[in-house]
Amino acid sequence: MSTRTARRWPSPGTAVLAAVPLAVLVVFFIYPVCGMLALGLWPDGTFDPGAVLEVLARPRVHRVLWFTLWTSTTATVLAVAAGVPVAYALYRLRLPGRRFLGALVLLPFVLPTVVVGVAFRRLLAPEGLFGDLDLDGTPVAIIAALVFFNIGLVVRTVGTLWERVDRRAEEAAAALGAKPWQVFVSVTWPALRPGVVSAASVVFLFCSTAFGVVLTLGGLKYANVETEIYLLTTQELDLTAAAALSILQLVVITVLLAASHRARRAVSPAGAAASARRRIRLRDTWLLTWTAVVIAFLLLPILTLLLASLRTPDGWGLDHYRALQGTGADNALLVPATEALARSLVVACQAATFALALGAIVAFLVSRPTRTRAAGRLRTAFDGVFMLPLGVSAVTLGFGFLITLDSPPLDLRASPWLVPIAQAMVALPLVVRTVSPVLSSIDARQREAASSLGAGTWRVLMAVDLQVAWRALLAAAGFAFAVSLGEFGATSFLARDDNPTLPVVIFQLISHPGAANFGMATAACVVLAATTAGVMLLVEQLRVGSVGAF
């Protein structure tokens, strides 16, 4: 980073470039969220901080905070414990089908949460496969679902790092007489630690802001901060309390993102070559068993859905899939499910395009070298602010859209663009996290060489940056596409019902009585999961390690 480069942070050019994504973020994220918070903080037009403090003193709020804290911590620890060995198996061993498995572990992350909630409940209900364990409606069920969603992030983050840990250092230590555990403690772990810390903070963030699963699995007994904000806003219209919790959530998220950022700084650039995978040996049995157990745990809810979708009143068949061409029993839907799938694909395309365009600019800017400490801090803040959508309540964002984007020139409430824009905001942080490590890995000297050979800025960009980053950009677009396909929280607040996406249709189907509608919902879930899995498999083919890694 000490060498001279053609452009430095922040030059007037970068400032203009930075203004584009910033403007979009302000209009479609910060402004709506602040609008919602303002309603709570200025209840009658006057600022009332006392009311906020009063909320934080409520015993119920303490219970909610404690529950959020301990379930998220437990789920994070379990996800790391389950994921790290799998990361080793998938990224260091010559495991057959590892590319498929790599896509599979990330699949839960992009599945709609409401669907997973129902799938888990079917497994745990007294008559379900694990009914005897009596886990239904307990925090254990919630934690299991949170682990289910987040194992993939741990596997990907730690795995891509593990792939690049220098094998020679490990071998040297072993040759010098270190036992395997000593090698792990003294060589491997220090190299992995940043990845584990980074993954753990992001997993904790996702766990503490989980919504759909906590609502379905927690019943009413258990609420976390996110579901509490939802209840306070939609049912009780207690906007002051909702704002108080939202602000608390924002503070915690900022701290977590900062922790993740510090950890990531220590990671070597993504460009480092992956070391060769070794052959499987007999002593890997335990490791492989563990991996198989984790994969089974990830597959089980998905298989439950698959079986339910094939179950018909008189045996097995594809009836529920054929029903997708219609509007369900008793007109549960306004449009056929197939139309919703088509709509989902178009929206996902739009969202992925927006997210990619904005994310590429952000990733480009944050991967530029900085000269001064102040510029470095500015860059970090710029990077951090685009991560905020990861942790802000979808309810707050959704309602914020309704109350702020309501007058020209921004009267977008009835616009078909609203859903893709909202989804792009959700996918944006993931695009940035996929692309920026790859761009950071470009040696500044390469760009210098190109410009000294007479290439202009644009030409350098095409010949150097794009040449290295095109895979990452394509993979990021695919990942954003998959996330958008499964996005439910914000979409459910914004989607027009004459034009819904598939997750919204699934939710409508399971909200209507009748076994036929439920069967159709499971069929739609399977179609959605299969589409998503297909996209993720294609993304895997691009071999970009930073997808789903933090």
Binding site: D238, I403, A477, D497, I510, P513
Partner: protein
């Protein structure tokens, strides 16, 4: 080889943009300002469902297309309208029920409108006093405890009949209900207990909790997962649902439902329609409200939304007269009392039922 990846990348990006452009051009019909008079937007709850033919008949008659905008359950619908009052998200609203009507009216969300030429039976569903000028009754339904008759027959047990029976240790661990804070039938059930036990309702709920009642977030969860006859693998044969639920449990090839509603446990929900204050197309909303009170729309209600038409002369679907009877004496709580106490009741209920 050098340029190929870039070409591929640009090709993918290009096709994505083309798709994006195509997608948007066919999906924004009806939003053009010039057509405002031809389209009316009706905000409603997630349970909305209506036969396409009926909606087409309205368009044929008036030249107006209806756009339905679902906004969550009745509570979320009302609260969204409160948050966007003055610059509403729709022209008219359908689905505010008697538990939320006074909040919507007190917050100034609605303009006065009452359909002039309406069936005579509608008046008995009108809101009290001045509030009747804002909202038109459209349909009603009874939220009642349902039981799985087959389950009780197999166990050789006498099924419960009343609210008091539900706290009887005989039925310990058999009852599941959606919560009052997260579901509108759940709130209706809380109000049924308020109507039945007055100020003593908290002690009734304490007994229910002691008798191991299961409280789920939503109706879907309670009925399709925990109820024994809801299509899932449930283990609880008593569930809170509607008086109109049993006809949907008639097995294939059978002619009798396997469940029934306990008509001494019901709370009546009446759903209303009104014109929103600040609507862009108030005339269109008025016309649609008029249409909702015609027999054509009224008789389509039971099949599409499992509710009873307020026009009692409208014919009911086959079997409803036998298997989906309404309660003769549902529990009631005055609307003003609901508005005044809802927040306190819910808070107290939550502390008892969800610890």
């Amino acid at each position: 080889m050098r340029t190929r990846p870039i070409q591929l990348f640009l090709a993918v990006l290009g096709s994505a943009l083309v798709l994006t452009a195509c997608g948007s051009s066919d999906s924004d019909g009806g939003d053009r300002p010039g057509e405002a008079g031809k389209v009316v937007t009706i905000a409603t709850h997630d349970s909305w469902g209506m036969d396409k033919k009926v909606m087409a008949a309205f368009t044929a008659k008036t030249g107006i297309t209806v756009r339905i905008a679902k906004q969550g359950d009745a509570g979320q619908l009302t609260n969204k309208l409160v948050l966007t009052k003055g610059n509403p998200i729709a022209d008219g609203v359908f689905g505010i029920d008697n538990t939320f009507a006074s909040r919507a009216i007190d917050e100034g969300v609605l303009d006065k409108y009452v359909t002039e030429d309406r069936p005579s039976s509608v008046a008995e569903f009108d809101l009290e006093g001045d509030n009747a000028a804002y909202l038109n009754p459209i349909d009603y339904g009874d939220v009642c405890v349902n039981i799985d008759d087959t389950w009780f027959a197999q166990k050789g047990m006498t099924p419960p009949k009343t609210l008091e029976d539900l706290v009887d240790p005989t039925y310990k661990g058999l009852f599941v209900t959606p919560g009052a804070t997260t579901s509108s039938p759940g709130l209706a059930f809380l109000l049924a207990t308020v109507g039945a036990f007055g100020d003593d309702w908290p002690s009734y709920w304490e007994k229910l909790v002691a008798n191991d009642v299961k409280v789920d977030a939503g109706w879907t969860d309670a009925y399709t997962v925990d109820f024994t006859a809801g299509g899932g693998n449930g283990s609880r044969p008593i569930v809170l649902s509607y008086s109109s639920s049993p006809p949907f449990t008639v097995p294939e090839g059978g002619d009798e439902p396997t469940t029934s509603a306990l008509l001494d446990t019901c709370f009546r929900q009446v759903e209303y329609a009104g014109v929103l204050d600040g609507a862009k197309n108030p005339a269109g909303a008025q016309k649609f409200i008029d249409f909702m009170l015609t027999q054509e729309f009224q008789q389509a209600l039971p099949d599409n939304m499992y509710v009873y038409p307020v026009d009692t002369t409208a014919p009911l679907p086959e079997g409803w007269d036998v298997w989906a009877k309404t309660a003769t004496k549902p529990f009631t709580v005055p609307e003003a009392e609901i508005t005044e106490n809802r927040a306190d009741w819910l808070r107290e209920w939550r502390d008892i039922a969800t610890g």
